[in-house]
């Protein structure tokens, strides 16, 4: 592995690891393992540079779904969901939404909507890139995004936000 590639990999890890883990956490508790495997795979067989991020999200999604198929992990994940221990976000006094409530509302969204919202808001993917990852059309990814946001707005108290100013 050349030094430039190592630097590039480090930059990708620093910038996208948290978003990728959040994306993988929709399916599995072992999100960190899944994301690490994706980065290792990226180092050994890098895709074209312009598709790196899309490729990473696709690999993480496949890995997370595979991991979720493991019975013990799935049961543990379901137990966590039932207990409401969704800590997808770090609470911060600067947040204008409650992090725990947002996590809970997000976890209750239909999966198709949740995937698009997480990839868009915390992954920074465009609708076209999301469509490539999820193998749907770009317009469908946009529709899912809007529908998911509408549901979240209703669940999180549509018209009221905390004002920290």
């Amino acid at each position: 592995m050349k030094s430039f590639e190592a630097e590039e990999l480090g930059r990708l890890v620093d910038r996208h690891a948290a978003g990728l883990e959040l994306f993988a956490r929709q399916w599995t508790d072992s999100a960190a393992d899944v994301v690490q495997m994706a980065f290792v795979k990226l180092a050994s067989r890098p895709p074209p540079a312009e598709r790196t991020l899309t490729w990473l999200y696709a690999v993480v999604r496949n890995g997370a779904i595979s991991a979720a198929r493991s019975e013990s992990r799935r049961k543990r994940h379901e137990a966590n969901l039932a207990e409401g221990r969704q800590d997808w976000f770090v609470p911060s006094p600067d947040d204008r939404l409650d992090a725990i409530e947002a996590s809970s509302a997000l976890s209750e969204l239909p999966q198709a909507y949740r995937e698009v919202i997480v990839a868009r808001l915390w992954g920074g993917l465009t609708f076209q890139e999301i469509a490539d990852v999820l193998e749907i059309s770009s317009s469908a990814s946009h529709r899912h995004y809007q529908a998911g946001l509408t549901i979240l707005r209703e669940k999180l108290g549509v018209t009221w936000l905390k004002n920290n100013e």
Partner: protein, 174 residues
């Protein structure tokens, strides 16, 4: 102290608020990840190099076998047994010439590079054909015959043209 304020009806406001939530920090061990990634990349490179090496070994083996085969073919051709070929000369024409028994024997070594043996054509024919193509039919050099020992003893050499004329004169009384 934070107080609640009516949210802007613009969906982008809610979108911005939602995206402002910070995902839980990555639990990846960065050093371990970099180590694993480098090890995987090196292993992949080594595997690729091994595949290339295997390919070139196979190619070298194939070309060596091909070279040995061609060399063996050539070697067997040089030391092939001599085959005696008997050409029968048509009686009407060659009774007029100096060949007494109407048969000429020559020694031929098979040559795998030529189809002469297959076509049943003598080397004289090939030689004369080449001369005819190069110099034209009117050139006397083309019609020069090859002297056989029997002809040299009995008569002076004749050209094929002279032979043809003598045959025509004898058969048609010209």
């Amino acid at each position: 102290m934070a107080e609640e304020q009516r949210m802007n009806d613009d969906p982008e406001f809610f979108e911005a608020a939602l995206s402002g939530l910070t995902p839980r920090p990555s639990q990846i061990n960065r050093d371990r990840l970099m180590y694993e990634a480098c090890r995987s990349a090196v292993a992949n490179t080594l595997a690729t190099n091994r595949a290339k090496l295997r390919f070139w070994k196979i190619m070298t083996g194939v070309s060596t076998l091909a070279a040995i085969s061609f060399a063996a073919l050539r070697y067997s051709s040089v030391f092939a047994p001599v085959v005696v070929v008997t050409d029968t000369i048509p009686p009407s024409g060659f009774q007029q010439t100096s060949v007494p028994n109407g048969r000429v024997e020559r020694q031929v070594r098979p040559d795998f590079r030529s189809d002469e043996k297959i076509l049943g054509l003598g080397s004289t024919y090939i030689h004369q054909r080449n001369l005819a193509l190069a110099a034209g039919l009117e050139n006397d050099r083309v019609w020069q015959t090859v002297e056989t020992p029997e002809m040299a003893e009995s008569e002076p050499p004749m050209t094929y043209r002279q032979r043809l004329q003598s045959i025509v004169h004898s058969d048609f009384g010209g």
